[in-house]
């Protein structure tokens, strides 16, 4: 048994912290911008805005969100923020995997990769 746990040097935590903070801040910015835009919309906010999605009430995949944001639809920004929030753990697992690689901890790099593959399996519909 090794005397020194691999992540005691703290580099793993530091990298994770930056990734997490960046993801959370970006998603909050998108959410607040989306709701702000919804309230500033001409006409009757916010219900009118939704009806601009005739086929579907709101985008439910990455492409729909990006297209909606390009067209300046406030709800697409809200969905973008939510999607970003869902993506922060993905970022977290990726970063942890990279740090495990750098520490030459191949077993846990493999574990991180397996978790990432499982997560992406959940993302396949997006």
């Amino acid at each position: 048994m090794s005397a020194r746990p691999a992540d005691r040097d703290g580099s793993l935590e530091a990298v994770l912290r930056i990734g997490l903070a960046a993801g959370v801040v970006l998603s909050l910015v998108l959410l607040l911008f989306g709701f702000g835009a919804l309230l500033l919309e001409p006409g009757d906010p916010p219900i009118d805005t939704i009806t601009r999605y005739p086929a579907d009430a709101f985008p439910r995949d990455l492409r729909g969100v990006v297209d909606g944001m390009a067209q300046g639809r406030p709800l697409a920004f809200v969905q973008g923020g939510l999607l970003m929030l869902i993506a922060t753990p993905l970022l977290r697992v990726t970063l942890a995997g990279l740090v495990f690689c750098r520490q030459r901890d191949w077993l846990f790099a493999g574990v991180a990769l397996a978790v990432l593959v499982l997560l992406l399996w959940g993302w396949r519909g997006l």
Partner: protein
């Protein structure tokens, strides 16, 4: 079945889930004369959902449960929101609080990233299964399951104390091979506390179940994750709590993506819920040291049992 807030025909349309292939009425079918009033009702709806989410996050962190266990009953019973939407919104709030609280826990060095990542193999698999099953189930069965979950959680809160009488176990081969161990500095005693996981296979099995419940009912499932690490794997309670918080986000991310692509993450519900729970939980974590929460916990258990009965009733009646 309770009606959504009065007069809100469009809000009602939003609260109802759009079945696959279905659609929200196009703009042209909406009587324009009613537009102004519905716009205001819509805004009120957003604010009300936001306020409820702040309260859920606050209450959840005060009694040591996540916001999900409060937000799903609140959205469904108070607002008549479709339970699939409520679960989708709750999952997002779980991710938000997990990501935010992990920032604090990582600074404290309590969270064990290795153990968390290892156990995520089980929780993520469970979460994908749970999310898949939720898509197939009618809403009324989710009400029944949520009612049962509330009963179980109330039981956990009442029993509370962990069983310390069990003899210390030998480390299992898996724990040794994967070096599931760590150390942290205990602030009270000022000493370095070293620990290592035991009974890893049992921990993994409970984690799979926790993941499945999370994906099915939109909760963080800390109520199962913490005992899996603390009681089964014999990790220190502080480490278990911090690591459980860290894992919740990853677990919920797997199922949230499934809900998103199914159209069960409604921005008008999930947006205010994510922001509200995040704010409430931050506020609560700052209040906890200054409040005597034991009394609140007892009161909360009573409320949980009542809500559980209400949800079971609604499920059996056919929500």
């Amino acid at each position: 079945v309770r009606k959504p807030i009065a007069g809100a025909t469009l809000v009602e349309a939003l609260s109802r889930r759009v079945p696959d292939g279905g659609s929200i009425p196009p703009a042209s079918t909406i009587p324009s004369a009613a537009g102004r009033r519905e716009g205001v009702v819509g805004l009120l709806f957003l604010l009300a959902v936001f306020a409820i989410a702040v309260a859920a996050g606050l209450l959840g962190s005060l009694v040591g449960l996540g916001g999900g266990i409060v937000i799903v009953p609140a959205l469904t019973l108070l607002f008549g929101v479709d339970i699939h939407y409520a679960v989708g919104a709750s999952l997002i709030s779980v991710i938000a609080t997990s990501s935010a609280s992990t920032l604090a826990f990582l600074r404290e060095r309590l969270c064990n990233v290795r153990i968390g990542m290892f156990l995520e193999l089980a929780t993520v698999t469970g979460a994908l299964a749970g999310a898949g099953i939720a898509g197939l189930l009618e809403g009324r069965w989710l009400f029944v399951l949520f009612g049962l979950l509330l009963f179980v959680s109330a039981g956990f809160m009442l029993s509370g104390s962990r069983d310390d009488s069990a003899p210390d176990c030998e480390r299992d081969p898996l724990s040794r091979a994967c070096r599931l161990e760590g150390a942290y500095l205990d602030r009270v005693s000022g000493r370095q506390v070293e620990y290592a996981a035991v009974r890893t296979p049992i921990g993994l099995a409970i984690m799979w179940l926790a993941g499945a419940v999370s994906g099915l009912l939109g909760i963080g499932a800390g109520v199962f994750k913490v005992p899996a690490m603390d009681a089964a794997m014999r990790l220190p309670l502080k480490v278990s709590t911090a690591t459980s918080n860290f894992m919740m986000g990853v677990t919920a991310a797997a199922s949230a993506a499934v809900y998103f692509s199914r159209g069960d993450v409604n921005p008008l519900i999930a947006g205010p819920v994510a922001l509200g729970v995040l704010i409430g939980a931050r506020w609560g974590s700052r209040l906890v040291p200054r409040l005597r929460v034991a009394y609140l916990r007892r009161l909360f258990v009573v409320a949980m049992v009542l809500i559980a009965a209400r949800m079971l009733y609604q499920g059996i009646q056919g929500a």
